[in-house]
Symmetry: C2
Subunit: 253 residues, 2 copies
């Protein structure tokens, strides 16, 4: 039997946002590996072994996946969103580079998924309609100074900014500090979107101004989008405003 390893993105939550490619790999798998809440999104079935792990054991999880694939298993490592965006794909390739040399030549495929920022953006309009960036606000694996430097340069570039992993119980102050820093660089009227549990039953999305944006609106499952100076709101009588960033500089002003 020839083993393989697929690193698959389950998207933000809804089954309607999982690609057929990912669904097919899950149907063919013998082993499923990932953070507990993601693994349990995939129904149990005969012939499938589910390996649930803690959130922090990424390299261990990646190495287990590679060992099983080398033994001939058909292994799927699941991530939420897109596996290449602040998720398991980079951890697997780190394990490939630093682990058993034979792992380089395994059949390893990355199966893309809908990342949180696109799911969130789609629910409110088109805030990413112009140039944008994505920053992981966690300083577990990089110095906080670098996060601050990137936030400042991104604001000066007038990118729309997506903030992943804005805070956790172990990182309670980082989002507040980031918002303070962005207020030094950007107009107070810039729209800020707090999008939680997008496409789930618990979905909650609110749009405020940067002036009024407080870290208390976010939790571990929140994606924060900071508009550029051009990002606009369209009021609606029947619901929340649309938020979008025009493609042009100066077309709507």
């Amino acid at each position: 039997m020839t083993g393989w390893l697929a690193i698959a993105g389950l998207g933000p939550g809804a089954a309607q946002l999982v690609t057929p490619e990912v669904t097919q790999s899950l149907a063919e798998a013998t082993d499923l590996i990932g953070y507990g809440p993601y693994v349990t999104r995939v129904p149990e079935r005969a012939g499938l072994t589910r390996h649930l792990s803690d959130n922090r054991e990424e390299i261990d999880r990646a190495s287990l996946a590679l060992r099983l694939a080398a033994e001939g298993k058909r292994v799927v490592v699941v991530s939420s969103g897109d596996p290449g965006v602040f998720a398991m794909a980079a951890a697997v390739f780190e394990a490939v580079e630093t682990g058993d040399p034979s792992w380089c030549d395994l059949d390893i495929r990355v199966l893309p998924g809908i990342s949180a920022m696109f799911a969130a953006a789609a629910r409110i309009g088109a805030p990413l309609g112009h140039d944008f960036c994505a920053i992981n606000l966690s300083d577990n694996l990089k110095p906080w100074d670098l996060v601050e430097r990137r936030l400042r340069l991104a604001a000066q570039a007038d990118f729309v900014i997506a903030l992943y992993n804005p805070l956790s119980s172990a990182r309670p102050w980082q989002l507040g500090r980031a918002l303070d820093l962005l207020r030094e660089e950007l107009p107070g009227e810039v729209p800020v979107v707090f999008a939680s549990a997008v496409s789930d039953a618990k979905e909650a999305i609110e749009t405020v101004t940067l002036r009024d944006a407080g870290a208390g609106r976010a939790d571990m499952r929140t994606l924060v989008l900071i508009g550029s100076s051009r990002t606009r709101l369209i009021a609606r009588s029947g619901g929340k405003p649309f938020v979008y960033t025009p493609r042009s500089i100066g077309v709507v002003s």
Copy 2:
């Protein structure tokens, strides 16, 4: 009949990368609108009117879609990739803001898709594994000075940089200029990926160094990924190298 408008992302090309949500909206639609090559990806069927248009008529196309939805049609505007990334969603919301005031209260939904940079990244490893940005290299709707400013700040932030729309027959010199500018800011060894027609039969992906990257490797369908100073290659005896950007600063060095 209650009309609606869905702005749907078809992904990079392969049917396996179209979400079930998009497939369902296409099955329910009465009218399909978009740039010719994208519309013709959707098979003809009884009850579906296909409106093919030129690449440049985005606001006309958006206004037609809104008028039809207001008349009670079930309209899908198709984009390749994700509709919110340098595609039709922002054009539709521009048309909403500047057009008939009643359009604000139409049922308008954006259905996300797999954008080119994630499809390309997945084919080679995990180059977007750390902070990154996306820049539309077209200066049709923004001044070239702003593109240069963003490129420079993005390189100084050490983002991985995805360049969309790198060149066309009407914009022949912009990618070359961008690469020259990036060579002033980044080490020559930084990997650069040219990814064309990802997931299609004509897929072609090559990875070179920034030092050797020339605009001649790109065409209209190419997505260009510029690594950060941390982006790494893993050689393989059996094929092209993997390209990835570690999650950590300093974990692999």
